[in-house]
């Protein structure tokens, strides 16, 4: 007799893990911070730079970067922009709501490579959310790194994410933190820098040989920023980027996040520049 199929006993790689929404905080008019806890109380087990697939029954899943350090236990944060049906539904949730997550997935920031280096951490727009996991890690392990520069740009003062964190990072000793907005309103309520994030590099004192640049932002940010970094003498081999793609599965099967032969959800989302700069459509 030929063998018979037997029902799968192990949990499927497509099965979300149940989690509970602990709190929701407004970040900007479009973005909220969701603090979640797995129902079984365990840590998510992620590393900075990884993402999860957030499951909403009826609306499928969306890939969201983890915005908190793995060393802050008992919860994990997701900074989510309201952009489609699923994220709109998430924005309507109240603390106590049940959700599902799969993951963590993807290649994280390579902390072992960053250790002992000066870090030039640059975020644009909601790119600060994934970078925040690394920023918190740096705060928690400050003595592992050299000088830490943090440059952040948003469209307007209202679009600045994590305003309280930015305030602390600007006032504290951990980061040399600079913030800018593309456009400042005429109401006079904003007294910070204006201009593109690339402008924050102009007078920044860097030691190229011991600096690693970490870039997380919207796709249009990368080309001008890479030109500016080249001008500052940062080698391509010392530039790490996190790319945004539409991941449907998170495990390298659905094909939606492919960049030529690479799969952003498995081979990335964090890449070294030389790995992707020659690939069509990567940047």
């Amino acid at each position: 007799m030929p063998p018979r199929s037997s029902p799968t006993k192990t949990q499927s790689i497509y099965a979300p893990r149940p989690c509970r929404l602990l709190s929701v905080t407004d970040l900007t008019p479009q973005e909220k911070l969701f603090r979640l806890q797995l129902n079984d109380g365990s840590d998510l087990g992620h590393r900075p730079g990884q993402f999860v697939q957030v499951s909403v029954p009826g609306l499928t899943e969306a890939p969201i970067s983890v915005a908190s350090s793995p060393d802050r236990h008992g919860f994990f944060d997701l900074g989510i922009r309201r952009a489609g049906r699923l994220t709109t539904a998430l924005h309507a949730l109240q603390p106590g709501a049940q959700l599902g997550v799969r993951g963590p997935f993807g290649r994280p920031f390579q902390l072992e490579t960053l250790t002992g280096k000066d870090l030039l951490l640059i975020a644009g727009g909601c790119g600060l959310a994934p970078l925040r996991s690394l920023l918190q890690y740096c705060e928690d392990h400050r003595n592992r790194f050299g000088v830490l520069h943090l440059l952040y740009g948003a469209r307007s003062p209202a679009d600045l994410m994590f305003k309280e964190d930015l305030h602390d990072w600007q006032k504290g000793a951990c980061f040399n933190c600079r913030v800018t907005v593309d456009h400042s309103p005429a109401d006079g309520c904003y007294d910070g820098a204006t201009g593109l994030v690339t402008g924050l590099l102009d007078d920044l004192d860097l030691v190229p040989g011991r600096t690693v640049a970490v870039l997380v932002g919207p796709p249009p940010m990368y080309r001008p920023l890479l030109d500016a970094l080249e001008h500052k003498g940062i080698a391509k081999e010392s530039i790490m980027l996190s790319l945004e793609r539409m991941m449907r599965c998170g495990i390298g099967k659905c094909g939606h996040c492919s960049i030529e032969h690479l799969l952003c959800c498995q081979d990335g989302p964090v890449f070294w520049l030389p790995e992707i700069e020659h690939l069509r459509g990567a940047l």
Partner: protein, 328 residues
Amino acid sequence: MLKRLDRSDLEKLLSALATGYRLLTPQRLADGTRLLRPHGEGALALQGEPVQRKPTEAFFPQHDPLLRIGEQGEVTTCDPPVRPVALFGLNAADLGCIAFIDRFFADPPADDHYLARRKDALLVGLTGFSGPGGDVLPPANGMCDLELLAFGQNWLGVPWTPRGEALLEGFPDGEQAEVEELLESARTRGNPAQDLLEKAAGLVASEVVPDDFWREVGDRCILCSGCNLACPTCTCFCVEDRQEQAVTLRSRVWDSCQFDAFMREASGHNPLGTEALRTRRRIHHKLAADVTRWGEFGCLLCGRCDRVCPTGIGIQAVAAEILARFGP
């Protein structure tokens, strides 16, 4: 252990397979279409062109329920059918396609859903004089459990796995010498389509094909997505939720990289935002990206995309055009 099967032996083999498996065999419909269908629903068509639909759909169906999510968030996975499937009558190209996606889905992290469906399935290759009009087909080279090489009114049974060996037990012994002429004919035949594909792939990989060409081919595409849906190595899918009362059925559904929304993100960013980029992606993926990632072409020359494409831009047609315009 080679076996020689005549027509009555073949019927016995099929009966044995139908006992333990959900057996699909090649049959011809009244309109001439050759398809894999449940055994016994129609007359066997043991010779002919490749079956119309891709056989990989037995393991990666167009609509593939993954799991159910209950009212309280409890998750129940959708298990494969209790009776594993046996696919009878596959040619070497289709067996190669199944091997290709087997490796793809097994690559870590493994797709347990695919593997559960695939692990007990049985593949029977049908080669030898089984092509259109009794033309000779290339051998299966071990990509199945059991291969039947057609010659004259008989078949030489070649087991490639212990399961294939068990199925052939009891049949009269055969000799390779009986099919030596056949194998020699298959060996010396050459494969002009493979030569064409390899030369075109070299041009695509070396980026000598200009964007204008991809724009031109893209302009001819009518976005029917038939190339992707017919392709046995296309594995892209989107995810769909259907709600019935309080229960959500989450499934994966075949998707097409030729659609504008394939890569479009909620932010509006679309890495494949033009027809030209999407057309290049379809061809480049099979002829260059898959070679870099997996070490082999993602096209096994089954011919389905060329047969299904209403505007003549299937992969072999495009490869021929690339070679004619940009080749040496």
